[in-house]
């Protein structure tokens, strides 16, 4: 068995050597940048000393984890991270679906194409520019939102310096930026719905709303579930850049999440072991959530990602 495998491999290498040469740099890339860092995960259980290197530093067991769970930040970070994620999921997940369903029934082609095209555009704006625009539009003196508030006789608010507004700012600007792009996949799925179903429904006198609920939604259900599972797996990870950029001394209570803390502890305070431990804790939870969501979904609907 082993012998024949080696022979077959040898023959394949001789025959397809070009393919092996081609894929070699990619294999090296993954080995170095995806698998080699796994070696560094042991830092989570070690007291890292630059002098001794990763291997030579002494083991300390779960000390970093205990320190994290006991720290005053733990509750705050978990609350913020999960809070922002759930809020994002509740707002950001259904809206692109509703948008795609509605767009599907726009009869004016020009309107349809225009809305579609401009809705993708914000996705391509960088996070830095996005945050710059948030600052501009929420400016206490000159931002449009405060101008509008003034119009209705309300006093101006410096939204970005108030912790209670942070989540909403984060989530709704995220919806603005992502909903068009996220809807593409549903639009694609909707275009695959059998026309005959719709024709039959029309003949039977079904209204458009009824067609949405009884034809469109069931047809795109597998797509919805697949994306939902994937989203569940990232409930514990709130993207670093946007939170980091919108963070300031006044809203930091609400604007610290696990990823910004990992950065803060690791690269600002140079506490490598502690930072690695928090990152590891986060990935493990994410992995568990993904597997759990997948299992639940499999149980309920026979649909699953893996």
């Amino acid at each position: 068995m082993g012998e024949s495998f080696r022979l077959r491999l040898k023959r394949d290498i001789r025959k397809n050597w070009i393919l092996y040469v081609m894929i070699l740099p990619v294999v090296i890339y993954y080995a170095v940048f995806a698998y080699a860092p796994l070696y560094g995960i042991q830092l989570a259980f070690k007291n890292y000393r630059i002098r001794d290197g990763i291997w030579g530093s002494p083991w300390i067991g779960f000390e970093h984890f205990v320190r994290f769970f006991k720290s005053y930040n733990f509750g705050l970070l978990m609350r913020n991270t999960i809070g922002i994620s759930l809020y994002s999921l509740l707002a950001g997940f259904p809206i692109p679906i509703v948008f795609a369903l509605m767009l599907n029934y726009v009869r004016n082609r020009f309107l349809k194409k225009s809305v579609q095209m401009v809705s993708y555009a914000p996705y391509f704006i960088s996070t830095v520019v996005m945050c710059g625009m948030i600052v501009i539009f929420l400016h206490p003196d000159t931002g449009i939102l405060n101008t509008l508030r003034g119009f209705f006789g309300l006093e101006a608010l410096d939204f970005l310096s108030r912790p209670e507004w942070f989540k909403s700012i984060y989530v709704w600007t995220g919806v603005w930026q992502g909903m068009g792009f996220s809807s593409i996949i549903y639009i694609a799925a909707l275009s695959g719905v059998d026309h005959q179903l719709h024709e039959a429904a029309i003949v039977d006198g079904a209204s458009k709303l009824q067609r949405i609920f009884h034809i469109d939604l069931p047809s795109i259900r597998p797509t919805i579930l697949m994306l939902l599972i994937l989203q569940m797996g990232s409930i514990m990870s709130v993207g670093f850049e946007k939170v980091f950029l919108l963070q300031n001394t006044l809203n930091v209570q609400a604007a610290s999440v696990i990823s910004t803390y990992v950065y803060q502890v690791g690269l600002i305070n140079n506490d490598y072991g502690y930072s690695t431990a928090i990152g590891l804790f986060n990935s493990v939870i994410n992995m568990l959530l993904l597997v759990a969501a997948n299992q639940i979904c499999k149980r309920l609907t026979q649909e699953s990602l893996f």
């Binding site: 796994l38 809305v115 990152g279």
Partner: protein
């Protein structure tokens, strides 16, 4: 729906639905377009008019002062130069690596195909984390070099999957056999047949990679200290997210002059946004038509 000749009564509820739908779409159109439009017109308006909130639909007191200010702001051009380099070189590297991964993996006669695919895809579900990755990049002496902006993200598995799926579905195995009979090796076949047939998918993933490089802020934050190597986004962050610019050089100015300076600093933000975002938004309409296709190929479950 196609008309099938049968007179179908238009339901009252459908009329309401259509009206609401069109209304919602028009509001959405406004919500998507206006913020971008506002930044554009504000960048061409007199700072004092923007400050007073008079700029709503069209530029007021048209001026290019904000663009002149950007031209004078040297740092942004250093960033521009660096970002153009990172984007061009980085995207070429990305495309080469992605093709090098996707093509062998698309060949049914490539023996380690499934093992490698599995090992590559596994990386979607875990990562060493920030510090272990940082230490690897440091060990390779890439910190504070332009390479740190390109090499750690040289391949994205999502794009490999998209490209591979495209190759599998669009390049029939028989074509490869025919080329082999004509004496072409795999590499010649890839260059002369596969790649020319795969322009749509290469355009889509090329765009994804290029936009990723253009907008990349994180890599520089983590890996780069040297001001001369900073990309555009890092300078933009200084300009947009802090008020450093507006507060510097204000000594010795009277109230009116410093107010004008403050206002100009504010409009400088608008012109900086435009100058840095226009390249991306310019290529976007041309490639936009490939998006749906790209996403659809990517959505095919393995």
């Amino acid at each position: 729906m196609k008309k099938n000749g049968m007179p179908v009564k238009i339901l009252h509820s459908d009329r309401v639905f259509d009206a609401v739908n069109v209304l919602v779409m028009c509001v959405l159109l406004l919500i998507f377009v206006w913020p971008l439009w506002f930044v554009l017109i504000a960048s061409f308006s007199a700072p004092s008019q923007v400050w007073l909130g008079n700029v709503v639909l069209l530029p007021k007191e048209f001026t290019t002062a904000a663009y002149e200010a950007v031209l004078d702001y040297g740092a942004i051009w250093v960033g521009y130069r660096n970002t153009i380099f990172y984007t061009a070189a980085g995207t070429v590297l990305n495309l080469v690596m992605t093709i090098c991964a996707a093509y062998p993996l698309s060949r049914r006669d490539f023996m380690p195909r499934n093992v490698l695919m599995f090992l590559f895809m596994l990386t979607m579900y875990f990562s060493g984390g920030l510090i272990p990755t940082y230490l690897v990049v440091g060990k390779l002496h890439l910190l504070n070099t332009p390479w740190a902006m390109m090499i750690p993200g040289a391949v994205s598995i999502y794009n490999v999957i998209i490209t591979r799926t495209y190759f599998v579905n669009n390049i029939p195995q028989s074509m490869h056999e025919a080329a082999k009979l004509d004496g072409a090796n795999s590499f010649q076949f890839l260059l002369r047949v596969v790649l020319p047939l795969s322009k749509p998918v290469l355009a889509v993933i090329g765009l994804y990679y290029a936009v990723g490089h253009w907008n990349d802020f994180f890599s520089a934050l983590i890996y780069i200290n040297d001001k001369n190597l900073m990309p555009l986004q890092s300078f933009l962050r200084d300009l947009l997210m802090t008020n450093k610019m507006s507060l510097s050089n204000m000594q010795g100015l009277d109230a009116a002059a410093s107010e004008a300076k403050l206002q100009l600093a504010q409009t400088l933000k608008y012109s900086a946004i435009i100058v840095s975002t226009v390249p991306v938004l310019c290529i976007y309409p041309f490639i936009q038509k490939y998006f749906v296709k790209g996403v659809m190929i990517g959505a095919v479950k393995e």
